[in-house]
């Protein structure tokens, strides 16, 4: 099995087989970022396809083969930004208001509650401002380091730190059980 460096070099020399290997190896990786930011299977799929078209056309300009995952992350994130800005709307959230996003602690089944919680987490994430959502997705879903996020999003390291913190605080507020429900439990 070829290493990433070998695959990238082969792609730079025009090997379609190597490009296929690269796509199959990194498509889910790219999809995770796009899905986290856009919140829709179809939009995320379109973005991943566009991202790999860009990779095919620009791979010769990639100097450091090991930086490929970060480079791909940058392409996907930029495309997501463009998609959200062009559509002029926030990603689709099934629930209408932030109040609806608060976790409901009442329910007959634990499994149902767990499912509901996951749904709530995703909806809360999609309700974050785009800049905040991007850094949280890159950090917590994709696992990039702060310096990699700074590189991908094109912002200073200090801004990455503050955005991640503000995003998590907002998420925690959105996902906090309502006071009435807490009182009802007692």
């Amino acid at each position: 099995m070829s290493t990433l460096q070998e695959i990238i070099r082969a792609c730079q020399h025009g090997s379609t087989e190597a490009f296929e290997q690269l796509v199959r190896q990194y498509q889910q990786y790219a999809f995770k970022i796009a899905y986290g930011i856009l919140g829709s299977d179809r939009d995320a799929e379109d973005t991943v396809q566009e991202a790999f078209i860009a990779v095919y056309r620009q791979i010769k300009s990639l100097r450091n083969e090991e930086a490929f995952p970060t480079w791909l992350g940058k392409i996907v994130t930029n495309l997501c930004f463009r998609k959200v800005q062009n559509s002029g709307k926030r990603p689709t959230v099934p629930l209408d208001s932030i109040e609806d996003l608060r976790i409901s602690n009442t329910g007959p089944e634990e499994a149902y509650l767990a499912l509901e919680l996951k749904q709530d987490v995703h909806n809360a994430l999609l309700n974050l401002p785009l800049d905040y959502r991007v850094v949280v997705v890159l950090r917590d879903i994709q696992g990039y380091s702060y310096s990699e996020i700074a590189d991908i999003a094109g912002i200073p390291l200090g801004t990455v730190k503050s955005r991640i913190h503000q995003a998590r605080t907002l998420l925690a507020d959105l996902l906090q059980p309502t006071r009435n429900e807490e009182e009802g439990e007692r």
């Binding site: 796509v23 199959r24 991943v48 913190h165």
Partner: protein, 173 residues
């Protein structure tokens, strides 16, 4: 360390991206401050929830789509280039015809072109005559070799240009 400063750094603390001295100070503060500890737990919980978010698998054949899309875009581009070239050629050809047949300047240029061609032919035949009279025959060989390499260079140059503009052709391999 003040509560405000600790809370500002809690996310970086959770992500283990703090320098050791600052990290130790926060650990020390958290042992003494239940409010900051509760805030840390709150952020830790939400971070855990996001990290365990399920991402559905990507089921479509991205590679096939990407290759088909690249091919289609290249074909579209080559049609575009072809139509632009055709348009430019038509304009140029139209311009030349107009210039030659409908203006005195065009007729002058045509006469100049004709006399230039005639002069080149005369010079060429003179060189051949001189080279055939030469005992060494070096001029004849020089002309032959120059013509041969000239044709060779033109052929490879033309091939390269055609290859570069073959945008709708097969992919690299």
């Amino acid at each position: 360390m003040l509560c405000h400063d600790v809370r500002e750094n809690l996310s970086v603390f959770l992500d283990d991206e703090l320098p050791n001295d600052l990290r130790d100070s926060i650990v020390k503060h958290l042992k003494q401050c239940p409010e900051c500890l509760a805030e840390k737990e709150r952020l830790s919980r939400v971070t855990g929830l996001v990290r365990t978010l399920e991402i559905p698998p990507l089921e479509s054949d991205v590679f096939s789509y990407v290759m088909a899309s690249i091919k289609q875009k290249d074909i579209d581009k080559s049609y575009h280039v072809f139509s632009v070239m055709l348009g430019l050629f038509s304009i140029l050809a139209g311009g030349v015809v107009t210039l030659v047949y409908f203006s005195p300047l065009g007729q002058a240029i045509l006469a100049l072109f004709g006399s230039t061609v005639k002069n080149i032919i005369d010079v060429g035949s003179l060189i051949f005559k001189i080279s055939s009279r030469s005992t060494v025959g070096i001029q004849g060989w020089s002309i032959s070799l120059t013509l041969f390499f000239g044709f060779l260079l033109s052929y490879y140059g033309l091939r390269k240009v055609l290859n570069n503009t073959n945008l709708g052709g097969p992919l690299h391999e």
